[in-house]
Structure formats: C-alpha cells, structure tokens
Amino acid sequence: MSVIAELNSLPLYLICGAIIAFVAVICVVFIVRAYKAGVAMGMDEKVLKRVVTSSATFSILPGVGILLGVIALSGSLGLPWPWLRLSVIGALHYEAQVAQAAAEHAGIGTLNPEAMTASAFATIALLMSICIMWGMVLSVLFNRGYLKKIGIKNPDQNETSLNKKSGFGDMAMSAMFIGLVSAYIGSYIGSFVSSDGLFSFRGDYLPLIVVFVSGLVMAIFVYLSEKKKKAWVDNFSVAASMLIGMTSAVLINLI
C-alpha cells in the first residue's frame, strides 16, 4: 500500500474523527452552558437565538473556504490529517506554510505526495501541532489572570451596561478591529499597486474588487435593516455579502 493510501486509511479516519468529535462535544457543552446562563441572567431569549442563528449562517461560507484548504492539503497529506488540523486549532493561512517548512526539515524537500514517507508524515504532523499550540498553552496558564486584571463588570452593572454610552474599552475593541481590517485592505491595495514593481499597478486587483462589492452589498443590507426596518436581514447580511463578493470574483475572472 502506498503512503498516501495509508494516510487515507480507516485507522487514520478513526483517530482524527474521534478528536474532532471530542471538540464538537466541547462546543455543545459551551453552547448549552452559555444559553442557560444567559436566560438565568435575564437576557432576552430572542437575542440569544439570533446570536446562534447569525453565527451559524456567518460560518457556513468561511467553512466551505476552509474545506477547500482541506482538499488542497489532502493531495500530499491524505484527507484525515488536514481534516483534523482545519477542524481543530488550525488556520487556513498557517497549515500549508508550516507543512511545507516541516517537509523541508523532514528531508523530502516539498510537500510532494510521491516523496512522502511514513516518518516524514509523522514529523510534519508533530511540527504542525507544536508550532500552533501556544495560544492554547497561554490560555491554560494565563487566561483567568489576564481577564481578572482587565476586569469583567459584575451583573449589577447590567442596567447601565446595555444602555449607557459605551466606555473606552468598547471603543478600543472596535478600533482594534478597524486596525485589523485596515491592515488587510492596505495589503490588497499594496499588492495591486506595487507587487509587480513599485507603482506598476499590475498586481492582483480581484481582492480589491471583492472588498468593494461585498462592502456595497453590506451597505444595501444595512439600509434594509435600518431604514426599511427589516431586522431579519441581519442574520444573513455578512454571509450573503461575502457570497456576492466572491461571485463577483468568478464573473470578473470570466470576462
């Protein structure tokens, strides 16, 4: 049996599937606990249900994108391992990069299915796990102390916390997110303008068009929600904006 055939064998599906199933159980435990706690603390059940619905719809499209990452890696690492990596802890932009570096150090040069050996695979798999585990390690060691230092308000502040003008903490978090989005949009602009030579304007323009189209569609959804009082569109606005933005990439590529 070839190494790739072994990497797609039943025992590997069972090992990876069992770990994924365990993480799914953890998610269910946290959903049930948070929902019950929200109700017990007097939060509106309609709001809690909308949070669940919108988070689910929000995640479907990126989930399909991640599935493509699984498919992309399955050629050289088999299907079960990328399935595990991208279901648990992994990140789309991380896996291929680390797997490639690991392949070099494991002595097979590139992520080539024909060059893959059992030992190289085990080495790649372990390095992929070690490189990305630090967020979890920090969480175990410092999450509680860090959050305590920053401070979560007590529920007796609820009456004001939902209605009062927000404090700087909230503004700072929104600002951080604005900074995050700015960095990525800036990178798309920079790629288009200078990736093929300074101010050559010959780089990839598709990401910029997609940003524009999905932003435009989002503006329409916000208009429908706020001006036309169709609040239900909030549940699907981000996912639908993304879908239309992504479709624009396909259409423009066909032209």
């Binding site: 064998s9 590997l12 993480v23 953890i26 998610c27 269910v28 606990r33 603390m41 809690l48 949070v51 669940v52 995640s59 990126p62 989930g63 391992w81 802890i89 990140a91 680390v98 070099e104 150090h105 494991a106 030992s119 080495t123 798999a125 372990l126 390095l127 796990s129 990305i132 585990m133 967020g135 175990v140 999450n143 920053i150 979560i152 529920p155 007796d156 502040q157 916390s161 909230d170 503004m171 978090m173 600002a175 951080m176 604005i178 900074g179 700015s182 960095a183 990525y184 800036g186 990178s187 920079g190 200078s194 990736s195 598709l206 990401p207 524009f212 999905s214 916000v222 981000v238 993304m242």
Partner: protein, 224 residues
C-alpha cells in the same frame, strides 16, 4: 436578587475557567499524541531532531504571533469564547469577525457579562458549524471535489477573506471614519512602498490597531 445574579455569574465564570482549562489540556494532549499514534499505525515515529530544527525556523514566528493573538483577542472574546477560539483556531478569518458581529447584533458591550455569554455562544456555534461543514464536506468529498476544484470557482474561494473584510469594513468604517482613515492610509502606503510586507500582514495588525486605538482614545478624551 442582584446579589444572586452576581453570585450566579461568578459561579458560572469560575466553572468556565475550570472547564476551559481541563478541555484545553485534554485537546493539547490529543493533538500532540496523535502524530505518535498515527506513526505507530504507519510503523514510523516522528524525527524529533527534524521537529526541533523546523520549530527553530518557523515555530518561533508562530509562537510570537500566538502571544500577540492571546493578548489582543482574549479581552475581546471573554473567558469561554477565548478558550474555545484557541482550541478551534481560524481566529482572524472567522471567529473574531463572527463574535464581533454577534456582539453588535445583540447590542452588548465588551467586558460585560452579556458579552461573555454572547461571545461564548457565537464562537461555540461557529466552531460547531465549521466542524459540521468539514465533516459533511469530507463525507461528500468525492462527488463535490470536482465541482469545488473546478478552475472557474477558484477565484471565489481565493477571495473568501477579502469578501469577509469588505463586508466588515463597511460596518465598522461607516460610523468611525475619523478612526479608520489614518490606519487605512498608513497601511496602504506601507504595503505600496514595501510590497514584501504582504507576507507578514498579520504582524502589521499590531501597528495598525495601535494607531486606531490611539486615535479613538483622543476622540474619547475630547468627548468626555
């Protein structure tokens, strides 16, 4: 009544930290044990020397990135949300925007118990849906593999993240243009002048975010 709610939330929060730690340690053990178990099935163990060399070349960068992510995202996500997010991954491209979107939709403020509940619900749901999508995808992979990998669709999937940030940019920039203009201009200029920085975009979030926070602080002080 108020006392009961304080006590209830404190008990809930303590239990969240306990469960979060236990589950995280268990998942860590499973993830680190899996390569050895798979190695045993395949009849070959990992080369620990190669793992060490590989860690020194790429692992240190990801370790620094993990520290930054921990410091930035933990307060944003709260206890339950951050334990889950670090277990399930895909933070920037999915969990963070999802939690921020849920927070805004529910109208809750960062650092409040309501945000703790909403963030946990949002990230747990998002993680579960991702697991289900991937499981279903892997199950149905043979029939849909050709369709999803068709060259015509590739530009769509290559642009998932721009599509996400386009939608989120409209939501966040429109009420906060005073905060957004400077980091957007600065980042665009930096990436135009040093295009090789696109390979380190996640690191550029730090100066961009710091600038945005600095401007928002000035606005906050002026409003007070």
């Amino acid at each position: 009544m108020k006392e009961n709610r304080i006590e209830y939330f404190e008990k809930y929060n303590n239990r969240t930290h306990f469960l979060g730690r236990v589950f995280t340690v268990l998942v860590l053990l499973l993830l680190l044990g899996a390569p050895f178990l798979i190695g045993a099935v395949l009849g070959a163990m990992p080369d620990l020397g190669a793992v060490g060399r590989g860690f020194l070349s790429v692992g240190l960068i990801w370790t620094i990135s993990s520290v930054v992510e921990f410091l930035i995202y933990t307060p944003m996500l709260g206890a339950g949300g951050s334990y889950l997010a670090f277990i399930t991954g895909n933070l920037i491209n999915m969990k963070i925007p999802c939690a921020v979107n849920a927070r805004d939709m529910a109208g809750v403020k960062t650092g409040t118990p309501e945000n703790e509940i909403v963030s946990t619900l949002s990230i747990a749901t998002s993680s579960l849906v991702t697991i289900l999508v991937l499981a279903l995808g892997v199950l149905l992979l043979q029939p849909i593999r050709g369709f999803l990998q068709s060259p015509v669709l590739q530009p769509a999937f290559a642009n998932v993240v721009p599509a996400l940030f386009g939608a989120m940019a409209y939501k966040y920039f429109r009420g906060n243009m005073k905060i957004a203009v400077a980091p957007l201009l600065l980042m665009s200029l930096l990436f135009i002048l040093v295009p090789s920085l696109t390979g380190s975009t996640s690191m550029m979030i730090i100066p961009s975010g710091a600038l945005a926070i600095g401007i928002s602080y000035l606005i906050y002080r002026r409003q007070k």
